[in-house]
Each structure stands twice: as structure tokens, then as C-alpha cells.
């Protein structure tokens, strides 16, 4: 029987769920090793948290699930969380502002309308935010944490793509584009549409010359950025600090032996980035990304607190996780079955309790089905032998008269 599921939503089967938990726990483990603390924010937030300039681009805001609450007569709309970072920034401003430095991580779902209904409208993210530092080392820390997590999942072929919001914004400023138009162009470039730049009349020849190398080439070393910087007109001082920052970060990544590609046009529909932006992909699938967002927290709290962060996309990662590498529980499961009507159920329940206490996963049998997930079958009856233990893998059987004997037998068989 098929009962329809909401468009754009998915179920996770036990198999997928174990992959999900594997990714989640690997992420958690790495975050904790780097000193990050876990937080959780609510699924419902006010719409206005996401509407101000510098948060989500209008194209993403047009896909937010918003509605009036049962007490929403004022017209105040609430939304299903459309983004992971902004609520964490709110949480920080709300209750952690006294901490100079906060390292936070979370595993959360975010919601965004997708027109066809064939792709996910609910997306799971593993996110980490480093709030309170403007250091380029903090950006590198986040990239390393993400890459280590991916490596920990057995994914060694991650591709790292870099861009820099500061460089893009400086370019647009140099073009002499006014504030309003600049914001629009930045949004479009972040939405992946750098073609818009072709339509702009560029008067300054230095900027025109910069256009192809900056926006269409893919640099593979800090040398690429140094080359561009050397060709920069001395008048274009706006670029200086952003290029220096970009070069410092790429230099360090190189010295750490990390490969990357510089692709200026790689954004993700987030207006809040101000500095380095990075994306991770595996065989062409984007599996994560992040960047520096120094203006977001000032927007919420009027305090000048810099931050950067990233998120890994759980749903995108699941297909890349080899089922075989997902660690199975090493505990062999027992199916406990009553084969005589006379045996009181309390005996069965207390036996199961003993087995679980000894660390065995034990399920009671209610029918004749013996699923292959079980390793042992333990039959009980009134009379002798009280226990019959069958190894379902080998078929070997032992007749036993006391629970301690059963436990001894299990220990013996499970010994390496």
C-alpha cells in the first residue's frame, strides 16, 4: 500500500539512518576534538530574522516557508528555519555574548521550497560556527575541521573551491556601482550568475582587464592571486586588504599540503559573507561550504563581532558513504523465543533483561520469522532443556540449563 508523502520530503530507512548517524557522530567527534560545543535552535523562527539586508538573498527569501501562527493576528510571520547560521548567530547574541570566543556546532534541518517537488525541501546540515575571531587562522581552522570530518568518513577525494566576498565587493565598488545596484549584482553573482558582469559597461581599463582572469579562470595556487595583485592598478586600493587576506589563507593551505581551486563565482545565495568563501565537493557533488560573515552579528546586536563558519550537507553525503565502511554494531543480536505455552512470560522478560544487562541486544520473538539481522536464536521452554542456543550463522546448537551457562557460552563464542 502506498500512502503519499509530502512533496519534496523523504524518509530515511534503518539503513540510511545508520549512515545518517554515522556522519552525525563522526562530525560530532571531530568538532568536540577541536573544542566546539553543540547547540540546537528551534525549528520555528520569526521571518524578520531573515529579511534584513545582509542575510538571505531575495531569491532564497522567496522560497521560505512562512505562515501566521495561531496567535499571529498582528501579521507577524513565522518560518520553518531556512538557514542554520543565522539562528545560531541569534542564539549567540541572545545568551552568549559575554563569551569573547564561541566555538559552536549543530546538526539541524533547514527548509527551502523547491519548485519541482522532486528535490528535497528539507535539508539536513552539520554546521560549525566560530564566533568572535577575525583571524584568517580561524577560517583555516574551519576548513581543516571540515576536511578532517570528511576524511574521517573515508572521503579522501574532497575538492576544495575558494572564493572571496571581499574581493567581489571591492570589484563592484571600484566599478562605481551605487549601493543598491551593488547589492543586487552581488546577490546575482552569489546565486551563480556572473554573466551579469558582461552586461555592465566598464570604463576603467584596469578593471576591464581584470574581469576575465578574476571571474573566469580557476587558480590553483596563491601564485595566481599574486599574479593578479601585481597587475592591479595602484589606484585600486580597495582590493588590497582583501587580496592580502586571500593570499595569506591560500599560502597557509599550500604549506599544509592542501589542494584547492580558486573560483570567484562560487557562492551559495547567502548575502552575509564578507571574506573568504569555501565549498567542498566530491565527484562534482557539492557536499558543504562556508565562509566568513563579519557583518551578520553586528546586524543583529550592533556589536562588532566577527565570525565564520561552514556546513556539511548530510543528504548529499549519504550516497557517498560506503555502506560497508559504516561501522556495524559489534554486538551480535539475540532473538529470544518461547517455544512452550507453559513458560510464564515473566521468565522470558527477566531472561531478556539479564542478557541486555550483559550487553547483548535482545529482542523477543512474537512470530515464526527469524530475520537475518539476528546472530543468535535462544529458545526457552518449560522443562528440560530450559535453553537452546542456536548460532544462526553456523547452525550449531547447545542445550543449556541456566542463564549463566548461556552467558558463558555467548562469551566463549564471541571471543576473538
Amino acid at each position: 500500500m502506498k500512502v503519499p508523502r509530502c512533496k519534496g520530503s523523504r524518509d530515511l530507512s534503518p539503513q540510511e539512518m545508520s549512515q545518517f548517524r554515522y556522519i552525525e557522530s563522526t562530525f560530532q567527534e571531530h568538532c568536540q576534538k577541536w573544542g566546539y560545543e553543540e547547540v540546537r535552535t528551534p525549528t520555528l523562527e520569526y521571518l524578520h530574522l531573515f529579511t534584513s539586508t545582509g542575510t538571505l538573498t531575495p531569491s532564497r527569501l522567496g522560497k521560505v516557508y512562512s505562515f501566521l501562527d495561531w496567535d499571529g493576528w498582528s501579521g507577524e510571520r513565522i518560518v520553518l528555519r531556512p538557514d542554520g547560521t543565522i539562528p545560531v548567530a541569534r542564539l549567540y547574541v541572545d545568551s552568549m555574548e559575554d563569551q569573547e570566543l564561541a566555538r559552536l556546532f549543530y546538526v539541524t534541518n533547514v527548509f527551502s521550497y523547491e519548485q519541482t517537488g522532486t528535490k528535497a525541501r528539507e535539508i539536513w546540515q552539520c554546521g560549525a560556527e566560530l564566533i568572535g575571531s577575525d583571524s584568517w587562522l580561524a577560517d583555516v581552522e574551519l576548513m581543516l575541521l571540515a576536511l578532517e570530518t570528511l576524511q574521517g568518513l573515508g572521503l579522501d577525494n574532497t575538492e576544495l573551491k575558494l572564493s572571496h566576498a571581499g574581493v567581489i565587493k571591492a570589484y563592484l565598488t571600484c566599478l562605481g556601482i551605487d549601493d543598491k545596484e551593488r547589492g543586487k549584482l552581488f546577490d546575482q553573482i552569489l546565486d551563480g550568475n556572473s554573466v551579469v558582469l558582461d552586461s555592465i559597461k566598464i570604463d576603467k581599463s584596469a578593471l576591464r582587464d581584470l574581469l576575465p582572469s578574476l571571474f573566469t579562470l580557476n587558480g590553483k595556487s596563491s601564485g595566481f592571486l599574486k599574479n593578479i595583485r601585481s597587475s592591479l592598478d595602484n589606484n585600486l586600493t580597495e582590493f588590497g586588504p582583501y587580496f592580502d587576506n586571500f593570499i595569506t589563507i591560500t599560502d597557509l593551505l599550500e604549506r599544509l599540503g592542501l589542494k584547492y581551486v580558486i573560483d570567484i563565482t562560487s557562492g551559495r545565495g547567502f548575502e552575509y559573507y564578507t571574506g573568504i568563501m569555501f565549498r567542498f565537493s566530491i565527484n562534482g557533488d557539492e557536499v558543504g561550504g562556508g565562509g566568513r560573515y563579519n557583518n551578520l552579528i553586528p546586524l543583529l546586536s550592533n556589536r562588532n563581532i566577527p565570525a565564520s563558519g561552514f556546513a556539511l550537507y548530510l543528504d548529499q553525503l549519504i550516497p557517498h558513504i560506503d555502506q560497508l565502511t559504516t561501522p556495524k554494531s559489534s554486538v551480535k543480536k539475540i532473538l529470544l523465543r518461547n517455544i512452550s505455552e507453559e513458560l510464564p512470560p515473566t521468565r522470558l522478560i527477566s531472561t531478556a533483561k539479564r542478557l541486555r544487562k550483559a550487553g547483548y541486544i535482545t529482542s523477543l520473538s512474537f512470530n515464526s520469522e527469524v530475520r537475518p539481522t539476528f546472530y543468535w536464536l535462544l529458545d526457552m521452554q518449560q522443562g528440560k532443556p530450559l535453553y537452546t542456543l542456536t548460532n544462526l550463522a553456523t547452525g550449531s546448537q547447545s542445550e543449556l540449563s541456566a542463564i549463566d551457562e548461556v552467558l558463558a557460552k555467548l562469551r566463549e563464542e564471541n571471543a576473538p
Partner: protein, 472 residues
């Protein structure tokens, strides 16, 4: 399956009728005075022609009840801006009945541009019949905090006391306003459009109909009258009278439309005189013979939400509209203060006489055996939704309507939640009542929390009205 076309009542009707005439459809009775909802086109005897409120048409085409429709672009965009994947395709701009969708503010507010608004740090309240387009306007302009008040009409009356902005459609005529309204931004130039259901356009042959309309359109636009149609300008009457309100002022909302006459009579008997309320076209802000009590004339449908937001202290509306509000917002602070004992109607559940079921339980069983949603049409979308939920109707959809709901059965809906005085209209349309939800009458409503400086006077007005109502 014959093709089905939805045509508009109201402002688009005269030119649309001319268009059909030029297209040689020979649709009888498509006139303003006709009370018929289903018409025949002699040129296309198979064609089913149905008359709707203009607002209903995009929804009716989107849900597939009609293959083609004619309505203003603003109503199409009001649907599409929120529901991007609605199955509505804009087929052709018919280019008549032009208008502008404009954001206006009150001249006394010192707001003249969008940038003035962006600089505001407090919540911006926008009143409109076009709540989705209003939200889109607020989002694309990156307002920090905004609230939208959806309205049934008369949005221009709301600023400055009850809203900061109104999004209104200017359609050539004058907008009556006692304050000077200033246009902040025009967000859409609209005109009549031909729309089609996406699936119909993809799979049905409608070419003969479309060709005839396009031919008719060419003739129509050769007609000097249509092509010379003036482009709409913001024409607002500035009246000299501006009521002076303070924080002590009690705002009383009085209904326009058909509740106006009995309300005026009630006030008259009570000894409350409201200057100009009874005149046919008048100001929407009025003074009274009571100290520091001002009146706003608005749609009764819009009153409970405004009372909840403390924009009005007292309002004379219907229990049906109070119930509609409470169905959407169960914890709302709006309370009924007084039953005014006029304007009695019953709110009922209605189905087609052709269905064999006799109550809601039988309808539920019937619905459980079908695999398409039960279409519940109503002006009271929240009452209808709650009724369907409470009665476990299973798979259902609520179709909002703007009047003449009885004409929706049986083709365009399966169940109506509708008000009726005598039941005669329902019987005349071959329909039957299967349930009565509640009895409604006019009532006085107020806010649960009344500021101290107003308590005494509000109680006094309530008491005065109570004495009159009880004499009836």
C-alpha cells in the same frame, strides 16, 4: 469534456462583453444587471461559460475547474507571487481596463520614498487586499520588520492610524480619501489578461476559441474608445476635514455595504449621530456627537483583526466574521460585547440536491470512498477549514470565494459553507442544507484589554447600544 471559460463580473465586464461581441461569441445575458452565473455562447454551443468575481478566476483556473479565464494581471500575480508553481499560464495581455498597483502612505507621515521606509526601525504595517504582493514588496525592499494586514477592501482608509502603508489598485476612478495620500512606489502596471490552466493548454485543443478572441481583440483595439482609455493617475480627493485624534480617542468601526442601513438606524435610535454615515458616498473617517469618539467606515470582514491589533476600540460587525477570525486565531483578544439583534443569518453547510447524503457523517463516508479531495468553497475559509477538520473530512481542499458561493455547486465545489437568511437562494439553486454551524447576527466587538482612560466611555457606549438593542 467540453471546454470551460471563467468570465469576470464587475469592472472588467463591459469591455470583456465588447470583446466577446467582437469575437462573435454571442454570449447572451453577459451584462451587469444579469443575475445568471452560467451562460451559453451561440458560436460555441458546447462551451461552458461561468461568471465569477474577478478575484476568484485565477484560483478557479489554477485548480483546473476552468480551462480559460479573463481577469486583471494583479489578481494573477497575487496568486503566483506566493504559489510559484500554480498551474496558471498568462496567455495574452488583453490590454484593456488598465490600472496600477501602488503603495501609498498618508501625506502626514513624512514618508515619500521607499528609502524613507527602509530607514525605519519600527515595524512597518501594510494593509492590502493583495497580501501576497504586499509581502513580496516588503521582502524585496528588505524591510527589517513588517506586518501585513490582509483586507477585503478599502485599504486606502487605513493609513496613518491603522497602518503605515496601503497597497491599492488605482483603476482610473477616484479614490475617496480624507487625508492626502502619497504614492510611494508603483509595483505593477496591470490590465486584463487571458489566462489558461497549464494542463489544458498542454493537452486540449482550444485554438478555435483563442483565434476568435485574438480576432476580436484586434477589432476591440481599433475601437477608439478602448485605445484612448486614459492611463490611470493617482486621483485622490483631498477633503478639508481631518479629524483630530489623540491617544484618548475611541475609534469606532462601522460597516459599509448592506449592513450600513440597519447600523445607521440603530445609532439613530440610540442617539449617536455620525456625520455623513448615511450618505451614499462619503468620508471614511467621521465625527460623532460623542466626545472624542471617531468613526472609521470599513468592511465588516476586516474588523476583528483590526480590533485585535487595537486599531479600533469598538466595531460593529457580524458574529460570522468574529467566528471567522477566532477560527484562525483561537487565542485572539477580541471579544463580543453585545448582540445587536439585527442582520440575522445562519451559517450552514450546503451540498447539491443531487447527492444522496443527508448529513455531514454520510458526506464523510462518501468522501472516504473517493480518491480526490472534497472541494469546500466558502467566503469563510477559516470556519470552513475548522469545520472540515472537526468533522474529519479526510482529503479536502478549501477554495476561497468572494461572494455568490451558491453558484459554485455542483461543478466547482462539493460542499459550501455559506450564510443564508431564509434558505430561499439555496433552494432556488437546487441545493440543500445538511448542517447548521451557528446563528449569526450583528454584534459589537471590542478588545479584552482596554486602556484605563477609555474604559468608562467604552462601557457607556456599550450600555447605550444595549438599551436600544433590547428594546427591539
Amino acid at each position: 469534456m467540453p471546454l470551460r471559460v471563467a468570465l469576470p463580473k464587475g469592472r472588467l465586464l463591459p469591455t470583456t462583453a465588447t470583446l466577446l461581441q467582437k469575437s462573435k461569441w454571442a454570449v447572451g445575458s453577459y451584462t451587469e444587471k444579469s443575475r445568471l452565473y452560467r451562460l451559453q455562447a451561440k458560436r460555441f454551443p458546447e462551451l461552458q461559460v461561468r461568471i465569477f468575481q474577478e478575484k476568484d478566476i485565477p484560483i478557479q483556473v489554477a485548480i483546473g475547474n476552468y480551462d480559460l479565464g479573463i481577469c486583471g494581471l494583479h489578481w494573477i500575480d497575487e496568486l503566483l507571487v506566493k504559489f510559484h508553481s500554480s498551474a496558471v499560464v498568462k496567455v495574452k495581455n488583453l490590454n484593456y481596463s488598465r490600472g496600477k498597483l501602488t503603495v501609498v502612505a498618508n501625506g502626514s507621515q513624512n514618508i515619500t520614498t521607499v528609502n524613507d521606509l527602509k530607514a525605519q526601525t519600527q515595524v512597518i504595517r501594510i494593509a492590502s487586499e493583495f497580501p501576497n504582493l504586499a509581502e513580496h514588496f516588503a521582502v524585496t525592499n528588505r524591510f527589517r520588520q513588517f506586518n501585513i494586514f490582509p483586507l477585503w477592501g478599502g485599504a486606502e482608509v487605513y493609513p496613518p492610524e491603522s497602518a503605515d502603508l496601503a497597497l491599492i489598485s488605482l483603476e482610473g476612478g477616484k479614490i475617496f480619501s480624507d487625508h492626502k495620500l502619497v504614492s510611494i512606489s508603483t509595483i505593477l502596471d496591470h490590465s486584463a489578461f487571458l489566462i489558461a490552466n497549464r494542463q489544458s493548454l498542454e493537452s486540449k485543443d482550444m485554438s478555435e476559441l483563442l483565434t476568435s478572441l485574438y480576432e476580436g481583440l484586434t477589432f476591440l483595439h481599433k475601437d477608439a474608445e478602448v485605445s484612448k482609455q486614459p492611463t490611470t493617475r493617482l486621483m485622490i480627493e483631498k477633503k478639508s476635514f481631518v479629524p483630530q485624534a489623540s491617544t484618548r480617542t475611541i475609534w469606532l468601526a462601522l460597516p459599509d455595504g448592506h449592513q450600513k442601513e440597519p447600523t445607521a438606524e440603530l445609532l439613530n435610535k440610540t442617539g449617536i449621530s455620525v456625520d455623513g454615515y448615511s450618505t451614499k458616498i462619503g468620508n471614511h473617517r467621521l465625527t460623532t456627537n460623542l466626545a472624542d469618539v471617531l468613526v472609521k467606515v470599513v468592511r465588516p470582514q476586516d474588523m476583528p483583526l483590526q480590533v485585535a491589533n487595537k486599531n479600533f476600540d469598538l466595531a460593529i460587525t457580524g458574529k460570522d466574521w468574529l467566528q471567522e477570525h477566532l477560527s484562525q486565531f483561537p487565542t485572539s483578544p477580541v471579544v463580543e460585547l453585545l448582540d445587536l439583534k439585527f442582520g440575522w443569518v445562519k451559517v450552514v453547510a450546503v451540498i447539491s440536491m443531487d447527492l444522496t447524503v443527508s448529513d455531514i457523517h454520510e458526506l464523510r463516508s462518501l468522501n472516504n470512498n473517493r480518491n480526490r479531495p472534497l472541494r469546500v468553497a466558502s467566503e469563510y475559509v477559516n470556519i470552513a477549514d475548522k469545520y472540515a477538520r472537526d468533522n474529519h473530512l479526510g482529503l479536502y481542499q478549501v477554495i476561497p470565494t468572494w461572494g455568490a458561493t451558491e453558484a459554485f455547486l455542483p461543478e466547482d465545489a462539493d460542499l459550501l459553507i455559506e450564510n443564508t437568511k431564509t434558505g430561499q437562494t439555496i433552494a432556488r439553486h437546487n441545493l440543500k442544507i445538511i448542517d447548521t454551524l451557528f446563528d449569526s447576527a450583528a454584534c459589537l466587538i471590542g478588545h479584552r484589554d482596554v486602556p484605563n482612560e477609555k474604559v468608562e466611555r467604552i462601557n457607556k457606549i456599550t450600555q447605550m447600544l444595549r438599551s436600544t438593542a433590547e428594546e427591539e
